[in-house]
Symmetry: C4
Subunit: 204 residues, 4 copies
């Protein structure tokens, strides 16, 4: 999992450009990170335009989320750190804001339960559409440490999880590399669209 | 806030190209402006294709909206002027026509009340999703001076406002720079999509 | 209205590329034409890919729709000719197939009546959103001469008209130039989207 | 139908790039193939990114689906082989996952029956919108041989068929060449969108 800062910055910039074109990081929202090694995580600086990231828009934090380069880390860094601490094989974390994720998170009372989609096989360990994938929905909270603790507590009791929604906010997903995390973003976005449309139809 | 005409024209042309690609200025609709200094505002000439703007498609008006270069200013100039006069820190005004804004403005009886969206934090002074953002909806009116006066009267009595809808028409938003105004366009368009879809679902 | 074949072919190819990217001429559907002078009309050859048109994909017909270059004119040529014969100032006719036009045409029993949209001002002679624009819907018919006669009869009795829908098929619109006709395509597509979504919401 | 491997690989890569941009092969889903001659079929290697295919992402199998180059063929190869065996004129098979196809397949109890669409004429042998096109929906099954046998049995009893849906999964379609198969993908996707939206409206 050791990788070069420039390589990671380039991968995050590419991901940002793609997600921006898909409308998933509007108005400088969202944040992305990649773990370089046990002590260093590259993460986007808060408030930057995610469609035009350069190396200067990406800072370094340590394994506890403390800045390594004098710049102030974004508040949401704590959510990235929670994932890296829990999943030793996580190499990248992506947090987009999509219309579908945002809306779905507001319409759901409990966790999203996904099944009967071939695309579930995009997630590690899922070998059939008959599997069930649970996507918890957490209430949005500006106290990020408290939110991170809530996510952590949920993971203590839950089965395999590859992402989660924050109500009215967006979603988090991760993977061994930026490419793996992007594959999960694409799969979730597809599934969120489907579920949102099913809600619209079946509610009636 | 002093900026060069060519720089402003380039920023407006870039914004136009992006908004056109997003389908938000169809059929030569919409108009954009940037304030160069206290006496000069650069504004798009009426009827030009907003996806392919060049410097020749942008004219200069003074702080009252009077043409400074012999070309006839668009009727909607008065709405831009109202914003510049009220907000000393406004450096750019963007007025796109999107399907979502147009439809939402026709479905709503009163103002749009936005809350519980993380994306509210894209607007200055909003630090939590628990804030409320009010977006007034004005009836469309071909008498632009009368419409501008109505907008102005509303602002006299309202709290923080970062944009407004015109029924069956589109929306206006602004910011310190063209980039700031574009960030607000992106945030509003995202929120309008969400609200429109929520209407579709919740009405049933 | 006299224009060069190459110039017209280039304008039609540009329009095709844009409409293809918007998903409005899927699967080689649609056809486009431009009037060169009183005796010659350039029109797309049937079955060509509209996103990658070259001069070879465009043929010449006379004012009655008879081929001038030995190639067999598409059956739908008669619908283009009807427009050129009736409107002396029509310089281009565009016929896209969009999802929104197709669906709307299937949901409507009678003509589409458009009002309270600022975008109505994209059409010649419309100076206010309070105007009414009628868009007739004709039943689809593989007998194109019969369909063209039906369109013609309708126009004899109707007010200003800038386009029409064919049920389950798409729409026709026209203008003084390819650019004007494209502006009408953009305006109609926007309005069709809005109306379709209003149907979806209001029906419930 | 004899074609060069490099030519076929290029055509499949082009199709992949287009389908990826349309969101129809998210998260490395989907697979494509082209028949080179009676004994050789070029087919995408499982798990590759369909938007960035190179020749190395495409392998060769024989007419029974056995690998000709030492690489392990994807499980879904059997569905491609079933089509090539039944249709002597099939030169390419495309299997995208689209949101519309996925959702529609979950909402339908029986086959999809398409009529009154001009776009039906995109399929060979369809000369009028009054034709009926049946698109069967098969339950998803991780036992691909069993699924292929079910498809084959259905074709024994059905009329003209140009594609089928797999529930919660996507669709298969084919044609004489990759270009023909792409035309069918575009036509199906358009029709699936229309039908899905009609469901949403008419159910209410």
């Amino acid at each position: 999992m050791t990788q070069d800062f420039e390589q990671a910055a380039r991968a995050l910039a590419d991901a940002g450009r793609q997600l921006y074109q898909l409308g998933m990081v509007p108005a400088t929202s969202g944040n992305f990170s990649a773990r370089l090694d046990a002590e260093r995580i590259a993460i986007t600086v808060s408030g930057r335009h995610k469609g035009h990231l350069s190396a200067d828009d990406i800072m370094l934090v340590d394994g506890l989320g403390q800045s390594l380069d004098g710049r102030r880390a974004s508040a949401e860094t704590a959510l990235h750190i929670q994932i890296y601490q829990r999943f030793g094989d996580a190499g990248a974390v992506l947090h987009p804001h999509s219309v579908h994720a945002t809306l779905l998170s507001r319409l759901l009372d409990g966790p999203l339960e996904l099944s009967d989609y071939e695309l579930l096989k995009a997630f590690p360990g899922f070998t059939t559409h008959e599997s069930h994938l649970t996507v918890p929905v957490f209430n949005n909270d500006q106290d990020i440490d408290r939110l991170a603790a809530e996510v952590d507590a949920w993971m203590d009791s839950a089965g395999p999880i590859h992402g989660y929604l924050i109500r009215g906010h967006g979603f988090y997903t991760w993977g061994g590399s930026v490419a793996d995390a992007m594959r999960h973003v694409e799969a979730f976005e597809f599934l969120f669209k489907c579920e949102l449309m099913l809600q619209g139809v079946s509610v009636q």
